[in-house]
């Protein structure tokens, strides 16, 4: 951030970001990032809970799958996604039947971001759930709560600080996703691709303002998550 500010003048920022459509990549990134978080929360949270509580068959296989997406270079993930959801694959054909396309579309961007961010959220959420003492859940059940109510009243609040940190990390990863995105979702441009193409086409001076925008819009959520998590811990300590 400091380096960016040193190398950028207010004039550079203004001239790079005030043209028509200059902020479209920002809107695209925010929309796709928000949708990515929604998918991760809706799908990743139950998956993480089941992994933490040993409710899935072959848990090591699931964990290995998550780690693979972490270990592989994002570029390779993008290539594999082409083989998985490209137009000539069964999934791609199904999407075509729905008049959707998972290459070079907003949907493709979300898919790429989900794949890049999922391990960060699911593994973090799994650790958060695993940290909740199952005897507290058991006690809540004996006090009359059904399992879903136990989850809502005990498991989720106790795991929440860890979940928020995992979500913040996943958000940061989704906003900065580039490797898989450049393969499967070259269009529409989000901020990382905008930085890349602007750098190639007009040079560093016009690309850097977008990097600053990326930092400015992506940072508040993780920072808020850190602050909330710390506040929750302080409250718990009384």
């Amino acid at each position: 951030m400091i380096t960016l500010l040193i190398h950028l003048s207010p004039g550079d920022i203004a001239s790079a970001l005030t043209g028509a459509g200059d902020l479209d990549p920002l809107v695209t990134s925010l929309e796709s990032g928000g949708l990515t978080l929604l998918v991760l929360v809706l799908v990743g949270t139950p998956l993480a809970w089941m992994l933490a509580r040993g409710r899935l068959p072959l848990p090591r296989v699931w964990e290995a799958g998550l780690l693979c997406t972490l270990l592989l270079p994002p570029l390779v993930i993008g290539l594999l996604l082409v083989f998985m959801v490209g137009p000539y694959t069964p999934i791609g054909e199904f999407l075509g039947w729905l008049h959707q396309d998972a290459t070079n579309t907003f949907l493709a961007l979300v898919i790429a971001q989900v794949y890049e961010a999922a391990p960060y959220y699911v593994l973090g959420a799994q650790a958060a759930f695993a940290g909740v003492d199952t005897r507290l859940e058991e006690q809540a059940g004996l006090l009359g709560d059904r399992p879903f109510r136990v989850f809502w009243r005990v498991t989720l609040p106790l795991a929440a600080p860890g979940l928020s940190m995992a979500l913040a990390t996943a958000w940061a990863r989704a906003m900065g996703a580039f490797g898989a995105v450049v393969i499967i979702a070259y269009h529409p441009f989000g901020l990382p691709l905008q930085i890349f193409t602007t750098l190639q086409e007009t040079g560093l001076a016009t690309a850097l303002p977008y990097a600053l925008v990326l930092l400015v819009v992506a940072l508040p959520l993780p920072l808020a998550a850190y602050a909330w998590s710390a506040r929750a811990e302080r409250r718990r300590r009384g």
Partner: protein, 331 residues
Amino acid sequence: MLNADVEVDRRDFTVRATLSVADGERVALFGPSGAGKTTILEAVAGLVGLRRGVVELGGRVLTAAGTGAGAGPVAVPPWRRRVGLLRQDPGLFPHLSVQANLTYAKSAAPDAAELAAIAAQLGIEGLLPAMPARLSGGQQHRVALGRLLLAHCDALLLDEPFASLDAALRRTLTALVKDLAAQRTVPTLLVTHQLSDAQAFADRLAVMDQGEVLQVGAPDQVVLAPAFRRVAELVGYLGFVPAAQPGLVAGVHPDRVAAGADPARGLVVTGTVIGARPSGAGWEADLRAGDAAFTCRLPGPPASDQVTVTVLDPPYFGPDGKRIESDVSIP
């Protein structure tokens, strides 16, 4: 009334127990660690499955499995059992205040008067806004107990709840739970490996070992007349000396030994002192008599290497480990 006739498979052995606890009655499950005591509580609470058996509470069948009778297996889930379980870890919800913990149960009436009354009875009325992390161990246990009372459970299951507390606090809380259980007239089952806790709390004592209930009876009856040599070992008999009849041994409880020879009161034994140390207000001495060794408490240090003591009205055990019911003549 709580009736439990359960068989639960564990990795090492099968736990078998048949127990009845009347309303207002307090029964202590006593035995060494790993004897299967907690497994029985968990079976009653519905936290472990039964291989076979029935659990009934207040006429409701909570669990029925493998009995081959009736309408088939029954397994009422824990949240519908109305059974309160208090463990060594009080299990307070750390994200909720003391007051929110106390009123957590759905069955906890939103009655401020009852909350205030129980909080006052437990001495936690000033702690209601506090978070559990701020409480001492004793205070946490009081809150956990209050939570169970406000939940209006039909049975109380206490799994060594105060084992981690110091002796004085343990005595105080044990007395408190005893009073509260009596007021609520609910069946109460305590698990403990401390005989003194069991004696202080329970109307009846069930001694367990290796998954089996060996003896059930009034605490003093179990201690003074253990049915088996193993029960005697578990309730504190620290030695067995040969009786006059061949094959029989007499159990020596360190607290039931008088210095000197008094054949009218029990078995007179003379032994060689192999060790002695101060113990409480007196002394504890290890004696050897022939091949047998035993420990006894004496009012002062042994005066010589040879000590004669009278083992007061000892229980006698046959070669099979069972207590001999008939009188055994004192040699």
